[in-house]
C-alpha cells in the first residue's frame, strides 16, 4: 500500500504540477502535509486559485465590405435572398431606436436582420435576369394589341398562385386554389335565365363591376380545382336555362315585381280602346307609369306621373293648377 502511495506521490508531484495539485490537495499550506504521506483532500474549497488558460483571441478577417471595389458587380456579391449581414453589405446603414443618440449602426443590429431586404433585386440585376430569361419568352400576339381586345377574345380570367419554399416539400396547400373571373354580360341570357343565374351565383356576382368570381379550393390539386371551376361555369349556365315544370305554376301573386303585360291594367286598356295595346300610341308611357307606381310604391311623384299619363292616354287636357 505504502509503495503504491509513494509511487503515486512521486508521479503526482512530478507530472501533474499545478492543476492536479489544485484538484486533490487544496489546503493552503501544502508543504506542511508533505511528510511520508500526503493528505488527499476530496472537498474543494472555493478559495482555490486556478491558473486559467490564457485566452487567445483568434485572428478574424476584417469585414469584407472593406475591400469591395466601388465598381463591383453587386449581383455577384448578393445573388439571392438572405438575411442582412453587416460584413457583406458596404452601406453605412442604421436602424432601430434608442432614446438618446443616433440609431444603432449595422453591426449586431437585430432590427436590420429581422426585416426582409431586397438587396438581391437591384435594378441592374433584374435587368440582367430579364435578359437571361428572354430566350424562354414568345412574342405577344399582334392581334391583341390592347386590353379591350384581350378581354373581348379571352373573356375568362383564371388566377392561381405558385409558391417557392426552401423546404423539403415543393407542395403548398395554397397553390390548389383557382379563381375564375368573367363578365356576366359575356354570357347569353334571356331575362328569366339571367334572373335564375343571378340567384344561383348569389354573392359571387358583383353588381358594381359586373364580374362573376368563382373560387374553387375543395379538390387537392390545382388542376382538379380548375376543372371543377370550369364544370361549375358550364353547369350554372345550362341550369339557368332549364325550366322546371313547377316554374309554370308561378302566379301573379308569386311575381317579385309588377309586370304590366301580365296584369289587368293592360286588359282594361285594350278593352277600353278595343284594340291591342301595341297599336295604342300612348299605351307605352302609361304602362311605364303604372310599372313605376306599382314597383316603386306610392309617392307624390309616381302618383302625379300616373295621373299625367292617364290624361295623355285618354286625351284629357293637362292638369291645371287649381287651388
Amino acid at each position: 500500500m505504502s509503495v503504491i502511495t509513494r509511487i503515486l506521490d512521486k508521479n503526482v508531484v512530478k507530472q501533474l504540477p499545478k492543476r492536479a495539485a489544485a484538484y486533490y490537495s487544496n489546503k493552503p499550506n501544502i508543504e506542511e502535509d508533505i511528510g511520508e504521506f500526503r493528505v488527499l483532500y476530496l472537498k474543494t474549497s472555493k478559495a482555490q486559485a486556478f491558473t486559467k488558460k490564457k485566452y487567445q483571441k483568434p485572428e478574424v478577417l476584417p469585414p469584407r465590405s472593406n475591400e469591395m471595389p466601388v465598381d463591383q458587380n453587386w449581383g455577384n456579391v448578393w445573388p439571392g435572398p438572405r438575411t442582412f449581414h453587416p460584413a457583406t453589405v458596404p452601406l453605412p446603414l442604421r436602424q432601430g431606436y434608442v432614446s438618446k443618440g443616433s440609431p444603432p449602426d449595422k453591426y449586431a443590429n437585430a432590427e436590420l436582420m429581422k426585416i426582409p431586404n431586397f438587396l438581391h433585386l437591384t435594378p441592374p440585376v433584374i435587368e440582367r435576369q430579364c435578359a437571361a430569361l428572354k430566350k424562354f419568352c414568345t412574342p405577344w400576339p399582334k392581334a391583341l394589341s390592347n386590353d379591350e381586345l384581350c378581354e373581348k377574345h379571352f373573356p375568362f380570367e383564371v388566377i392561381s398562385s405558385n409558391y417557392c419554399h426552401s423546404s423539403p416539400s415543393i407542395r403548398d396547400p395554397m397553390a390548389r386554389i383557382v379563381t375564375i373571373k368573367f363578365k356576366l354580360n359575356d354570357l347569353k341570357f334571356d331575362e328569366k335565365s339571367r334572373d335564375k343565374y343571378l340567384r344561383l351565383v348569389g354573392d359571387r356576382y358583383n353588381s358594381e363591376t359586373g364580374y362573376v368570381t368563382i373560387v374553387t379550393d375543395r379538390c387537392p390539386t390545382q388542376k382538379q380545382n380548375y376543372d371543377y371551376a370550369m364544370y361549375l361555369v358550364t353547369a350554372l349556365y345550362h341550369e339557368s336555362w332549364n325550366v322546371e315544370a313547377w316554374e309554370e305554376l308561378k302566379t301573379e301573386a308569386d311575381m317579385e315585381k309588377y309586370i304590366w303585360e301580365n296584369n289587368e291594367s293592360k286588359k282594361s286598356v285594350e278593352k277600353l280602346f278595343g284594340k291591342n295595346s301595341e297599336d295604342i300610341a300612348e299605351s307605352k308611357q302609361y304602362a311605364n307609369a303604372v310599372i313605376n307606381f306599382m314597383n316603386e310604391g306610392e309617392s307624390d311623384y309616381t302618383l302625379a306621373n300616373y295621373g299625367d299619363s292617364v290624361r295623355i292616354l285618354l286625351g284629357l287636357p293637362a292638369k291645371t293648377n287649381v287651388l
Binding site: 485572428e59 469584407r64 456579391v77 379571352f154 375568362f156 398562385s161 409558391y163 416539400s169
Partner: protein, 646 residues
C-alpha cells in the same frame, strides 16, 4: 429560417393559354390571333439561366462556407477543415439514420427523395432477380453481392443479362463499395495524386467467381473481366485472359483493347517493345474490325508519353493524332495532356508545343470525355511556369479555364491549388509588381487561393527587389491570417526587407513597420506552449525589432526588447547588430535615462563588443552623470574611459 422564400404570383390575368372561349359574336373580319407555341424548357432551365447572370465574387469565399468573418476559413488548412467538418456532420446524419431507421418513418419531402430513405435490408425470402437488377442500377455493391449470394444459396435462376450486369459492376468497382456521390467535399479534397499505381485487383473475388461460373463465357464477359483487371493493374492475368479470348476467336469490345493498351508499360520494358506492342494491339483491332475511339487515342498517347525524351516518341504522338483525326476522332483535353507530357520533359529541351495546342482548344467549352481531362489545366500551367516562363501563355490558359463551364475540369482541390501556385509564381516573376498585386494578388487572395509559404516567399523576394515596401503591411496581415508566421525564414525575410528599405522619417510606414515588428515579437513571445517546433529569438532578430520600434520612436517597446536581450542571454542565440544597440543608446540619451544606457553598456561588454567603451564615452559626453553612474560605468569598462573623455 427556411420559411417562404418567394411567392411567385402567377396571375394569368392576360388570359392566355388557359381558356380560349371566344365570343360567339366576334367579327370574322378582324385580324387572326396567332398565339405562339411555348418554347420547350427543362425543369431547371430557368434556374440555370438565372445562374448564368451570377459570376464569382472575388471578395467572397466559396458558397459552401458561411459568409461571416468569424466563419470564413482563412488558410488552406482551414478551408479543408471547415468543409470536411460539414461533411462529417452529413456522415454522422447518415450513420444515425442507418442505426435507427425506426425513428425516420416520417416523410418530410414531397416528392420523396430516394437517398433519404432508410437502407433496405434484404432477407432470403424477398430476393428476386428484379431486386438484384434494381440494386445494380443503383450501384449498391455490397447489397448486390449479398443478394447474388442469397440467390445462389436458394438455387434461383439468374438470367444472363443480369449476371453480365453484375459482373460489369463488380469489375468496374473492383468488388468494393464506392464513396457515395453525396460526399462531394470528400471527393473534392481527396488527394488523387497520392493514389499509387499498384495492383489493387482483388484476386479470387466475387467477380472472378461469377466469371468462372459462366459456362462458355462470351465476349462481353471476357471484356468485363479483362477491363476490370487492367483497370486495377492485375496486368498479367488480364493479358492471359485477353489472349484466351483471342484464341477462342471472341470479339472483345473497344474499351477492352484500350485498357490493354493502357497497361502496356507494365508488360514491356523498352520503348521500342512498347511501341510495337501498341501497334500489335491496334492491328488486332483492325483485324477484328473494331472501331477505335477516343479512349484508344488517349491510351496510345499515354504510352507514348512514357517513352522518354526520344524524338521518335514525339513523332509517334503526332502520327497518332493525325491518324485519329482522319478517323474523325476529336482529341480531348486528356489527349493534349499526354502530348504535353511527351514534349515537355523536365530535363529535356524546351518545347513550345503548348502554343500550337492552344488554338485547337481555345474559346471552346469543354466537357469531360476522359477521366484524365482534369489533368490538362494543372499540367499546362506547370509548363507555363517551369518550362516556358511565359506569362502570356499562362494568361491564355487561365482564360480558357474560366471560359464557360470549363472550370469544372479543374479536377480537385489539390490540382486547383497547384494550378494557382504555378499561375501565381509565373506572373509574380514576369509581371510588374504593381500590376501583379492589383490584378492577381488582390483578386485571388485569400478566397480563391491561399498562397503557400513558398509562394509568399517569392512575393516577398519580389517586394525586396522592387523596393515596393508599401505592400509589406498587406502581405504581413495576410501572413498572419494564413498562419505563415510560424516560419522563421519568412519572418526573417520580412524583417530584412524592413531593415533594408528604410522609409523616410515622416512616412507613416514607420508606424506600420513598427507594428509588424512588434507583431513578430508577440508572435514568438506568446507561442503556444504545446507547439513542437518552437520559434526562438535570435539576437539579430531582436536587434532588428529594436531598430524598427525605435524608428517609430517607441522607446518603451525597445526597452522591453533590451530587457529580453539582457535577461535571456542564455536562451537568445547570437547578438544583435551594433547599429541596433547604438540606436538604443541614442534614444536612451534622448530620453535622459542613464541607468538604462548603463545597462545597455553592461550588455555590450557581456556580449564581448569592443565598442562598449566608445558607448560609455558617448554617454558621458551627452549626459552629465552623477557619481553612482560613473562608478558603475567605471566598473564595467574600466576607469580609463574617463581620461579618454578629456
Amino acid at each position: 429560417m427556411n420559411t417562404i422564400a418567394n411567392v411567385l404570383r402567377n396571375r394569368s390575368n392576360l388570359k392566355l393559354n388557359l381558356t380560349q372561349i371566344t365570343r360567339l359574336s366576334s367579327n370574322v373580319s378582324e385580324e387572326k390571333i396567332v398565339i405562339p407555341k411555348a418554347i420547350p424548357r427543362g425543369p431547371t432551365d430557368i434556374l440555370r439561366a438565372l445562374e448564368s447572370t451570377v459570376s464569382r465574387d472575388p471578395t467572397a469565399t466559396h458558397y459552401k462556407y458561411h459568409d461571416d468573418p468569424f466563419l470564413i476559413p482563412m488558410s488552406n488548412m482551414g478551408k479543408r477543415t471547415f468543409a470536411m467538418a460539414q461533411e462529417a456532420g452529413r456522415k454522422a446524419a447518415y450513420w444515425v439514420r442507418e442505426q435507427h431507421p425506426d425513428l425516420f418513418q416520417h416523410q418530410e419531402a414531397d416528392p420523396p427523395i430516394k437517398p433519404f430513405f432508410p437502407k433496405m435490408v434484404y432477407s432470403e425470402d424477398e430476393v428476386t432477380e428484379d431486386t438484384l437488377k434494381h440494386v445494380i442500377d443503383e450501384v449498391l455493391i455490397p447489397d448486390a453481392k449479398k443478394i447474388y449470394k442469397l440467390m445462389i444459396e436458394k438455387g434461383m435462376e439468374i438470367s444472363k443479362e443480369t449476371q453480365q450486369a453484375l459482373l460489369d459492376l463488380l469489375c468496374f468497382y473492383n468488388n468494393e463499395d464506392t464513396l457515395s456521390e453525396e460526399f462531394i467535399e470528400e471527393r473534392w479534397f481527396r488527394n488523387s495524386a497520392k493514389e499509387k499505381v499498384r495492383k489493387t485487383w482483388a484476386d479470387g473475388s466475387l467477380a472472378e467467381e461469377i466469371f468462372i461460373s459462366i459456362e462458355n463465357p462470351d465476349a462481353a464477359a471476357y471484356s468485363a473481366i479483362i477491363q476490370g483487371m487492367a483497370k486495377h493493374y492485375q496486368v498479367n492475368r488480364a493479358w492471359q485472359l485477353f489472349e484466351e479470348a483471342q484464341g477462342k476467336g471472341l470479339e472483345v469490345n473497344t474499351s477492352t483493347y484500350n485498357s490493354i493498351i493502357r497497361v502496356t508499360s507494365f508488360m514491356k520494358e523498352s520503348y521500342d517493345l512498347r511501341w510495337s506492342f501498341v501497334n500489335d494491339i491496334l492491328s488486332l483491332m483492325n483485324k477484328a474490325k473494331t472501331k477505335p475511339n477516343l479512349g484508344t487515342l488517349n491510351a496510345c498517347l499515354e504510352i507514348v508519353s512514357t517513352m522518354g525524351q526520344s524524338k521518335t516518341a514525339k513523332s509517334y504522338a503526332l502520327k497518332l493524332l493525325k491518324e485519329f483525326k482522319s478517323l474523325g476522332i476529336e482529341p480531348s483535353l486528356a489527349s493534349w495532356y499526354h502530348v504535353l507530357m511527351t514534349y515537355c520533359k523536365e530535363r529535356g529541351p524546351v518545347s513550345t508545343i503548348l502554343n500550337d495546342i492552344l488554338p485547337h482548344i481555345e474559346n471552346k467549352e469543354h466537357t469531360i470525355r476522359d477521366i484524365k481531362d482534369t489533368f490538362f489545366f494543372v499540367t499546362a500551367m506547370d509548363i507555363c511556369r517551369n518550362h516556358l516562363h511565359d506569362k502570356d501563355l499562362a494568361q491564355r490558359v487561365n482564360k480558357l479555364l474560366h471560359f464557360g463551364n470549363n472550370y469544372n475540369l479543374i479536377g480537385d482541390s489539390y490540382k486547383e491549388s497547384i494550378y494557382y501556385r504555378h499561375y501565381f509564381i509565373v506572373l509574380c516573376e514576369t509581371e510588374p509588381l504593381d500590376e501583379f498585386m492589383e490584378n492577381i494578388y488582390n483578386k485571388l487572395v485569400p478566397h480563391i487561393y491561399v498562397p503557400e509559404p513558398g509562394v509568399i516567399a517569392e512575393v516577398l523576394k519580389n517586394i525586396d527587389m522592387n523596393s515596393a515596401v508599401e505592400y509589406l503591411p498587406k502581405i504581413w496581415s495576410d501572413m498572419l491570417i494564413f498562419d505563415h508566421t510560424g516560419r522563421e525564414n519568412l519572418l526573417n525575410m520580412v524583417m530584412n526587407i524592413m531593415i533594408n528599405h528604410k522609409p523616410d522619417e515622416s512616412s507613416e510606414l514607420n508606424d506600420k513597420f513598427s507594428k509588424i515588428a512588434w507583431g513578430i515579437w508577440s508572435k514568438i513571445e506568446n507561442q503556444n506552449e504545446n507547439r513542437i517546433q518552437k520559434l526562438a529569438f535570435t539576437g539579430e532578430m531582436l536587434g532588428n525589432i529594436m531598430i524598427m520600434v525605435l524608428r517609430n520612436n517607441d522607446f518603451e517597446k525597445a526597452f522591453e526588447v533590451m530587457q529580453k536581450l539582457d535577461k535571456g542571454m542564455h536562451s537568445v542565440v547570437g547578438v544583435p547588430k551594433l547599429d541596433a544597440l547604438s540606436m538604443f543608446m541614442d534614444h536612451c540619451i534622448k530620453e535622459k535615462l542613464p541607468t538604462t544606457a548603463i545597462q545597455c553598456i553592461q550588455y555590450l561588454t557581456d556580449s564581448g563588443f569592443p565598442e562598449a567603451e566608445d558607448f560609455a564615452i558617448r554617454l558621458n559626453k551627452s549626459l552629465t552623470l552623477d557619481e553612482t553612474h560613473l562608478g558603475r560605468l567605471g566598473k564595467i569598462v574600466g576607469e580609463q574611459f574617463l581620461q579618454k573623455k578629456m
